[in-house]
């Protein structure tokens, strides 16, 4: 329930003495705890009743009974699973331990809840705990993913040659002091830049078409865009491979990779942009039309500036997706150990492709370490792009940033 249901009610008589407030709450509503009245209002001998602060009735807050149950069940099942899993049965594996623990925990929690409340309430509590686990699990997984890559990669990135050298002179077992990922970083930056140049204008224009013009064709395009968002990225690579390399006879190059990345980025940009363009208030458009401006003037001077922050978020998020794309690049970029700064000719490496080759194709321990180093770089770039997207995306359409507000204030003061 949202906080809108948090209600203010007059203090019930029973709540006068704070100690009796808790047990007197009706059964099956742990969350319905009556907050202890503030000390100033506590003496009931207070002669002025209107001075009394009304305590809030809060729904669904944790109470001591609830958390005691929770901790008790968690601890008990931990002990039990240790005895059963490690001592009695010949199981092994860390994962199995925690899975067994979780199942036991839910069972114990249900039993404990059942001892105190009726069936409905016990089920209610079990559901709350089980659903909450989903949230906890997802957060843990993200921390785990990012943390694991950063920790394993930190050994490689501390070598300065990792950043400044290519792998041109490194053999399969060369130590970490030889070579680096410069060629992959250069390739990633160039390919992402080209892909952005291809996909962002096309994606935003297509989104404008969907949001501003509409009609039957737009419905078809929208369905296609939605289907393409979840299109396998490998198919985008296959498409570029078939069209540009097999049919047109181009060589594998950074450009082909950029086009493949662009094909996967474009629907993401288009879809996210359309959502943003749709929440631009219609009154703004109508005001612009009423002032006599044409449609493209309205879009250019009213709609796009209003949606600027949202559009930027869409672009940056698509870039975060684009830089990590491996499958499309795999087929069309070729791969080289050497530095190739020219995306228009010859094979070119990129960070994901570097990891793929280091880990999957070569797989020696030195290369796995380099792969994790490249993963470190990739994760940091994605995190940075993601943070930027969140920062600029926080603003509602038309909402000004602090800097813009300061600028406006300055201009107002000057005039």
């Amino acid at each position: 329930m949202t906080e809108s249901t948090e209600t203010r009610v007059p203090r019930p008589r029973a709540a006068r003495a704070p100690s009796t407030a808790e047990p007197s709450a009706p059964q099956g509503s742990e969350g319905r705890r009556v907050d202890a009245p503030p000390p100033a209002a506590a003496p009931s001998a207070d002669p002025s009743p209107e001075r009394r602060v009304e305590p809030r009735v809060r729904f669904n807050r944790t109470s001591s009974t609830g958390s005691a149950n929770f901790i008790g069940a968690a601890g008990a099942s931990l002990g039990l699973v240790w005895v059963i899993y490690e001592r009695v049965l010949p199981f092994s594996g860390v994962l199995g331990f925690w899975v067994t623990w979780y199942v036991l925990f839910l069972a114990l929690y249900l039993v404990m809840a059942r001892l105190q409340w009726d069936r409905l309430e016990a089920r209610n509590r079990l559901a709350a705990v089980a659903l909450g686990t989903g949230g906890v699990l997802v957060v843990l997984v993200v921390i785990e993913q990012v943390g694991y890559t950063l920790v394993k990669g930190s050994a490689a990135v501390t070598h300065s040659n990792f950043w400044t050298k290519s792998l041109a002179f490194a053999g399969p077992d060369s130590p970490m002091t030889v070579g680096g990922v410069l060629q992959a970083i250069v390739g990633s930056v160039e390919q992402l830049g080209l892909a952005t140049l291809v996909s962002v204008p096309l994606g935003v224009t297509a989104a404008l078409f969907l949001a501003e013009i509409g009609g039957g064709l737009a419905r078809v395009v929208r369905t296609i865009v939605e289907a393409m968002t979840a299109l396998p990225d490998l198919v985008a690579g296959l498409f570029v491979y078939v069209t540009l390399i097999l049919s047109l006879g181009l060589e594998k190059s950074g450009l082909c990779a950029a086009i493949a990345i662009g094909v996967t980025m474009m629907p993401i940009v288009a879809r996210a942009s359309e959502v943003v363009l749709r929440i631009v208030p219609g009154a703004l458009r109508e005001a612009s039309y009423a002032l006599g401006s044409s449609q493209w003037r309205t879009v250019w001077n009213v709609v796009l500036p209003t949606a600027r922050s949202g559009l930027a978020t869409a672009v940056v998020l698509a870039m975060a997706r684009g830089i990590g794309e491996t499958a499309p690049v795999l087929l069309v970029a070729g791969y080289t150990k050497e530095l190739n700064a020219d995306p228009f000719s010859g094979p070119q490496a990129s960070l994901p492709l570097f990891i793929y080759n280091a880990v999957h194709v070569l797989g020696t321990s030195a290369y796995v370490e380099r792969g994790f180093g490249a993963g470190f770089v990739l994760v940091v770039v994605v995190l940075a792009l993601f943070t930027i997207a969140r920062r600029i995306g926080g603003a509602a359409p038309g909402e000004l940033t602090k800097r813009q507000r300061r600028k406006l204030a300055r201009e107002a003061a000057e005039s």
């Binding site: 594996g93 997802v138 064709l217």
Partner: protein, 337 residues
């Protein structure tokens, strides 16, 4: 916009006042502008059609050679013989996707309910950000994690499953029972893919859940329902179409996932096996990624045929998903005002 007013005929004017017919005639600059926008839409359409056309054209020779046997052959030797087909690859892909969905849908829906119904307000935005970040993490990072972190830790559990739940056909283990034969199993690949499906399921179903009508929620509470009772009777039925649509989008993603599957699977044979704990499974995407450089034109055509099947399969799944999801939006109007 230039607006031309066309008055009705003078006769009609004399008798009654007919509604004026307003014709909006776009200016020439507007016409150019609309043309540009429309052509962008057409380009998007064209790219999708081109993908389909080129894949069909280039894989045509492969289909010609193998005929309908392409869908029934459990082998893949396109260079030396006509013995190639997706009878093993497609079910393998589907099996991985099924494992991924079995894990991702419950976890994703639970997380979505938690975020939209249980999480305190201060936690809601950070949690949504975490889900978005999970979707933004490159699949190769998941692949690294799955190969080097998850795989060594899960083998013991796999072995336990095979020993104690081996009577279930899926967990049956036919190979020699060394820990090494559990490496590269379909099960592990499915688990890693599930992590990439979770954010899709979560964010889509969360959006649908948060649209559940407030009036019906309060009605459930007013009838004395517990919170779980309210979720079960109001939020979940309202969001059912959303959950189905989200799961299908996740299925599309899981079918097409390449890198994580390629990293983890160690393809040995081209026979399909439902024993998910055994190593040696394969998938369409892994087959393409592993062999596209080694094959000549004939082989590449066969791989493209696989790609075409994958493309059509995901296109169908995704289109169905978006139809289901867009239908579910109409549910927002059920609240009586």
């Amino acid at each position: 916009m230039a607006v031309a007013l066309t008055p009705g005929s003078p006769h009609a004017l004399a008798e009654e006042d007919p509604p004026r017919i307003i014709v909006a005639r776009p200016s020439s600059s507007d016409r150019v502008f609309r043309g540009i926008l429309r052509s962008a839409g057409i380009v998007v359409l064209l790219i999708t059609v081109l993908i389909l056309v080129f894949l069909i054209l280039r894989s045509f020779s492969a289909f010609q050679r193998s005929g309908l046997a392409f869908f029934t052959t459990q082998a893949f030797f396109p260079e030396t013989s006509n013995q190639f087909g997706i009878a093993a690859l497609l079910p393998d892909s589907a099996l991985i996707a099924a494992i991924a969905l079995l894990v991702a849908v419950p976890v994703g829906v639970a997380t979505a309910i938690y975020i939209s119904e249980y999480a305190p307000h201060v936690l809601r935005r950070p949690l949504i950000a975490v889900i978005d970040l999970m979707a933004a993490i490159p699949s190769i990072v998941y692949a690294l994690w799955g190969l080097f972190f998850l795989m060594p830790r899960i083998l013991g559990t796999d072995q336990w499953l095979a020993h104690h739940l081996g009577f279930i056909p899926f967990f049956h283990f036919t190979k020699s029972d060394t820990i090494g034969s559990y490496v590269g199993a379909t099960f592990i690949a499915g688990l890693v893919v599930s992590l990439m499906v979770i954010p899709i399921v979560t964010s889509l179903s969360r959006q649908v859940f948060s649209q559940a009508p407030q009036g019906e929620r309060e009605a459930a509470y007013a009838l004395g329902s517990t919170r779980w009772g309210m979720i079960r009777t109001v939020v979940l039925p309202f969001g059912r179409a959303g959950i189905i649509g989200a799961s299908m989008l996740g299925l599309g993603r899981a079918l097409g996932e390449t890198i994580a599957v390629t990293f983890i699977l160690t393809p040995l044979t081209w026979t399909f096996s439902i024993h998910v704990l055994e190593g040696g499974g394969n998938s369409i995407t892994a087959e393409i990624a592993n062999y596209y450089t080694q094959y000549d034109n004939k082989g590449v055509a066969a791989l493209l045929a696989c790609g075409l099947v994958l493309f059509v399969a995901t296109l169908i799944v995704n289109s169905l998903a978006s139809i289901v999801v867009s239908r579910s939006r109409s549910g927002a109007l059920t609240e009586a005002d």
